[in-house]
Symmetry: D3
Subunit: 168 residues, 6 copies
């Protein structure tokens, strides 16, 4: 078993923003997901609203897009990046596999692209997380037991370390 290396720490263990100036600028893309677990009633009301009026998913989408652009301001060792596209998709799942009985889900998938020297995993994860927090904020008056779960990288392409797809 080899010891993991933390590229954000120098050899004394101090945090730093690593030098990426020697890396090639390539097209990079990352997809991240998050899930908000809540009651079936809340999910039904959101789904109903999405059809005829409601702003819950629309507000969360905007919050996620804006958060992607603020990633390097929130996560201390992230590089500022010229993001070229962001999309945040939200959908509902009334009976998610593996969830506790009676819990339904709002599913969030954020996709971020850039042409740059570092990947956009953190941007996609930040977009998904902030979209999830925004859903939470809008629904918390109706359910105090919500959980944000399964915030994870789903796919990644571009860059020297090769493509990644989350194992099933």
């Amino acid at each position: 078993m080899t010891e993991p290396t933390f590229s954000h720490l120098d050899d004394r263990g101090n945090a730093r923003m690593v030098d990426v100036s020697g890396k090639e600028a390539t097209k990079r893309r990352a997809v991240a997901r998050a899930t908000v677990l809540t009651t079936a009633e809340v999910v039904a009301a959101i789904a109903d609203g999405a059809m005829k009026k409601g702003d819950v998913l629309g507000v969360a989408r905007v919050a996620g897009i804006q958060a992607a652009k603020r990633t390097s301001d929130l996560v201390p060792l992230c590089h500022p990046l010229p993001i070229t596209s962001v999309s945040v998709d939200l959908s509902v799942d009334p009976a998610p596999q593996g969830a506790p009985a009676g819990r339904a889900a709002i599913l969030i998938e954020a996709t971020v692209e850039t042409v740059g020297q570092t990947g956009v995993e953190m941007e996609a994860l930040t977009a998904a997380s902030v979209a999830a927090l925004t859903v939470y904020d809008m629904c918390k008056s109706a359910d105090k037991d919500m959980t944000i779960t399964d915030v994870a990288l789903w796919e990644k392409s571009g860059g020297r370390s090769g493509d990644y797809r989350r194992p099933a």
Copy 2:
């Protein structure tokens, strides 16, 4: 079954920041938690570093504290609040209950207090989420399969709706 109400939507379903000017300013406190699941090797290296040098948990703590102060800038319908204290505690669990085999955990608990007209749940959840994203960022070169999970409100006190403690 009564239909859930969304206080952040007006009667046409449009988003708004709800009026809290009539609510009493009371002392309010919220505790939120998040978990980062990664390999036992990464957790061991972080724990080791925490003893003799490492900045992973220290950087995540600062990021979480700063994120608490930026909550109303990130979550569109949150009120700006005069936060009076924030702490973010991080610890490691080499064998977390219920986690997939071989996965170890970094546990995050954020506590936020204010004297104000609305609660600080979102501030505590945002602090925990951004601390988790920061841990993720610093460890992603060592593990691409990390997951942020169980982001949830743990306790809440103050305000008209009464105290809350997450059911076991």
Copy 3:
């Protein structure tokens, strides 16, 4: 004719943020409006979208709410204020009075409230302006000749200087 006084300038003409610590904290409210003039086709497409799918007005509403909270960060001499509510209403007018022939309008009205020592005119005007800029951004691929016009304070209450209502 008396010379106007500029409370944001000291007696040497230098900018400063004026001292409000001696002013009473009262409930204050301001309503501001803005208009985006564009083609009848764009307005019809937005109105149609608002019924069945579209995000133009929803995105602008979120942008306006968030901008209200950032007013003191944008307008240098504004005081930071604990905003207690913000709403941004958007509607369309296919044939606005006084507009050039063939131009239709998106109408924006922002309402901001606080309990504080200074008024919220600038917060309401900033919300309306940024909502208008966001509408502009989303429609500019369809009309390059848009104009944002009639950005003005409509009503104001609270504070020592008395209530204000824009003359007809």
Copy 4:
């Protein structure tokens, strides 16, 4: 009559930040204008101040330059852009054509340049709008009936869609 297309909406009508990674990076320039209408007395005092002391136009200039850099943080679907120059010119017009009787004007013109994949219209319009809001803030103690008007793109060059000059 063809239906206008909104490039910021996907085919379900959901907001997104459009992908610009395939567009060529070219030199781009945009000029936007805004007008603040106020009393002749206010305009005279500003003009007088501009000669011997005053900070009104200077503060508005700085606010406009800083706002240009924050455009993608304010307007949700704007791309972050490496702005290469910003200037904001302010002047006064004691008797503007077409204005209501007795109203004088502060004229604002913002010019923004970049070498990038999208235009800088929104940056120029945001700079002009925030400079206008700053003038408003500094003069509102002297005139409650001010209006910000004629916020519009004046010229644009660079990019695939060709040059633009506002029709007279």
Copy 5:
């Protein structure tokens, strides 16, 4: 000799934002100063400009005022505070006492007030520092050897710890 205590560290040495909710809200004021040392030529040009045209001191003043409002966003353990006034005064000293031969000075004094539970030392020091950095930025094409020096708290009043005045 007693060991100094660091109120921003908990008993394990971890950073936290200390709880101020039990402290009394009183009127608080802080004055901080900073000095920029540069050549006599640069100082003469700034002083000359200040009389007839120049924007160097005016731009620095605006930057300092805005920075005071962003203190809790920059300094991780600072509380957000409802600042009630900020002023930043800049002047020149062609022959400052104690400076190296041939060096002249731009003197900066920032005054910040609030009614709150913590002092505004950091706000005043941040305003003075950012005003100094802005002077540096505008003059660096004319002098590469500039130094920012003597950034210090000058006076402080309000709060339980009593008034402070810097010893001569």
Copy 6:
């Protein structure tokens, strides 16, 4: 004696962000330093803490790194830049040369790199200044007479104007 030129002012003395679009994008690097003078007791406690627990230097390091990324938001005429690396080193000097008797020092050195059209002096100076302000904030309960001093550019490379090294 030639009159110094201020590239940030146009020929009327008005502030502007200068056009850098014609400048070559080259690798650029800047090193800036700052010193915090305080008591020997505070420095000893920090040094002791740095060995076994303390967060003072770690928190200041993170604050400095984040501030480097926010330079163009703080210093009005700075260009936004794609920073490729930042490191902030902190150390203590119990008996700094030239300091008043009994004063010890925390030494800060910030290094910033980019590949771009303008230098990163301001980014390095801002990182060093904000790290110093953060040290000040964490130690002010133990020493009210602290001073931040000797904030200066130490080295600079890349760009047309040639390399720079501060004279001894």
